[in-house]
């Protein structure tokens, strides 16, 4: 993170530099990368192939560079708007779920108080209850209150889904920060919030970013609530993929790819925050 911390500055422990172990290690890395990448590659191959190639056999495993399927989606009226809606809902979800979840995670990690377990179970239950059933009462409520068909309304529902993640992840992160650092900040003139913001937050930022990314991808990929709760302001998945199941194969793949690619770009864009490691490794 700092300009002064170059790789060689870090104390380098003596490692078992036995070549066999190293080879095994890199073989593992390679295998896992392949495991992740090959299916993505195949999805892209199909997305870039013509309908005949997609349903043909045997497949070459090479893309046909036929953009018609993707173009079909690009030409779909309202894709731009849906993309924008998706992003705004996802960002709102991210903000809401961290904004609401992180304080709760902090409280769970720093305090012992009656009702702690009840709250924890409540959070977990949220994750354990099928959304399609909740959607009806929620939709009725939203229609009555005017939240229906707004980015905020959908973000609220997505926040219900993402909240368990943000609460539990931030809880575990905060548990990893020594209380003493916070105490030091208090004696240096911080109130709780400032100490949190200036000391704890920078240290857990990578983790917070991770849970924010979860929130984002949960919202990004959620179809059901989006399909029920948005009409004018459709999000991309509600727009593109809710009917992919009943669409021809080549469109399925193209639609899948159309949804995957922005998410990949997003993760790529935020990877720095996701994985930034401060000089805390040798605290």
């Amino acid at each position: 993170m700092s300009a002064t911390t170059t790789a060689s500055d870090q104390p380098t422990p003596v490692q078992a530099t036995r070549s066999a172990a190293r080879f095994l290690f890199w073989a593992c890395v390679f295998l896992i990368c392949a495991w992740v990448l090959v299916p993505i590659y195949l999805l892209m191959v199909n997305a870039l192939s013509s309908p005949e190639q997609v349903s043909g056999f045997p497949k070459s495993g090479l893309p046909g560079f036929d953009f018609s399927s993707l173009q079909f989606f690009a030409g779909f009226s309202g894709v731009g708007r849906a993309l924008w809606n998706s992003v705004s809902v996802a960002v709102l979800t991210m903000v809401l779920s961290i904004g609401i979840g992180a304080p709760a995670g902090y409280a769970l990690s720093r305090f012992d108080f009656p009702g702690k377990e009840v709250f924890r179970m409540l959070v977990v239950m949220t994750r354990a209850f099928p959304l399609p059933l909740l959607a009806l009462p929620l939709a009725v409520m939203f229609i009555r209150t005017g939240l229906d068909d707004t980015a905020l309304g959908l973000a609220l529902v997505h926040t219900v889904l993402a909240l368990p993640f943000s609460v539990l992840i931030t809880f575990s992160l905060f548990s990893g920060i020594p209380l003493e650092l916070e105490e030091a900040a208090w004696t240096l003139g911080c109130n709780r919030w400032q100490a949190f913001q200036k000391v704890v937050l920078p240290l857990v930022l990578p983790g917070i970013a991770a849970s924010a990314v979860f929130a984002f991808t949960i919202s990004w990929n959620e179809v059901f609530a989006a399909a029920v709760l948005t009409i004018e302001n459709r999000t991309l998945p509600a727009f593109l993929i809710q009917n992919l199941n009943v669409s021809p194969l080549h469109l399925k793949f193209a639609g899948g790819a159309a949804l995957v690619v922005p998410a990949l770009v997003f993760i790529f864009a935020v990877r720095k925050y996701l994985f930034a490691m401060w000089g805390i490794a040798n605290r």
Partner: protein, 345 residues
């Protein structure tokens, strides 16, 4: 005005009582040193004053204001933590500037103070490093600098120099004392280094098992320990104790020697500091057991009447284990303790 008054403070951790009803007043601008065995509750007391720990009972007043329910930042204190608590994500500079930024001081003032305290602590060349790139002693100095830079009314230091070498300690000590006196800061300073305690303290509070046993000036604590514990705890090596019994002539019999003692009590404990004995023909009969050269002096551990007895003698003295010596206590340095209450008589 930053007088600290601690009234009847106790602290229990579950079933364990770390502090029993502490009463202590540290006057404004006083330099109070807390001394005590490991685990006796020094850190706990500091943390209660700082507001990091809630006392199980009692009151804490700072500068005439009851602060029990104030958060640390409103108590006008700053603190050096026993294990430093240097922020790992900030450079040394930012660590020291941390509290100043919280006070929203102008940047020039921050620079000035950081540089001044860093120089004081000899870490000016480390300002750009992170704590992971510092040695233990350097980290400790960052913690001290961070607290000093605040220029608080009250500073609490928990063994702030424990990881420094003697030379640096000596220097830091002098500088700390000077800086804190100049800034009229009330100081509570935990140390286990008695030389440090002696040379820094206006008063020393000796703690034992969660209680304050004696709070008095260094010389008083050293010369006239209020309790046997103080005598045995302070002084390196500590005081020697021997059982004494009043003889028929009113004098006390101590390991074959006859000494004048206090008027009250029949069975008392005789006590003398190792450096207050001399080789003299009228002394205790002592068999040397261990000889430890300490540089200018030699610490001779002997056996007197079957009891351990230490003497600090000139290093020119040639003595070998097994030798028999005669060790005479300097009469005006002899102290007496009641073996039951352990208090000085």
């Amino acid at each position: 005005m930053a007088e600290i008054v601690i009234k009847n403070v106790a602290k229990r951790f579950g079933g364990f009582t770390a502090l029993h009803s502490i009463d202590l007043t540290i006057t404004d601008q006083e330099f109070m040193v807390l001394l005590g065995a490991s685990g006796c509750g020094k850190t706990t007391l500091l943390r209660i004053i700082a507001g990091l720990e809630t006392p199980s009972q009692g009151e804490v007043w700072i500068g005439g204001k009851r602060v029990d329910h104030l958060p640390p930042r409103e108590r006008g204190i700053s603190m050096v933590f026993q294990n430093y608590a240097v922020f790992p994500h900030l450079t040394v500079f930012e660590n020291i500037a941390f509290g100043l930024r919280m006070k929203k001081l102008p940047q020039t003032e921050i620079d000035r103070r950081v540089n001044r305290t860093a120089e004081l602590m000899h870490i000016e060349q480390l300002l750009k490093r992170y704590s992971g790139q510092l040695s233990g002693g350097q980290r400790q100095r960052v913690a001290v600098a961070r607290a000093l830079a605040m220029e608080p009314d009250v500073i609490l230091m928990d063994e702030p120099l424990s990881n420094l070498d003697a030379l640096l300690r000596l220097e830091m000590r002098a500088e700390l004392k000077g800086v804190l006196a100049d800034s009229k800061t009330t100081t509570i300073y935990v140390t286990h280094d008695q030389v440090e305690a002696m040379s820094l303290a206006d008063r020393i509070s000796v703690m034992n098992g969660g209680k304050i046993v004696q709070a008095a000036s260094p010389v008083e604590v050293y010369r006239n320990p209020a309790a046997r514990f103080v005598g045995s705890f302070i002084g390196n090596p500590p005081m020697n104790f021997l059982p004494a019994r009043r003889g028929t002539n009113g004098q006390f019999q101590v390991a074959g020697l006859e000494l004048p003692g206090p008027v009250a009590g029949d069975a008392l404990d005789f006590a003398i500091r190792p450096e207050d004995v001399e080789i003299a023909p009228t002394g205790f009969v002592a068999t040397a057991r261990v000889i430890e050269p300490l540089g200018a002096h030699t610490l001779v551990t002997t056996e007197v009447d079957g009891k351990l007895f230490r003497a600090v003698l000139d290093s020119d003295l040639k003595v070998a284990p097994g030798d028999e010596l005669r060790l005479a206590p300097k009469p005006d340095r002899v102290r007496w303790f009641d073996p039951e209450t352990t208090l000085a008589v």
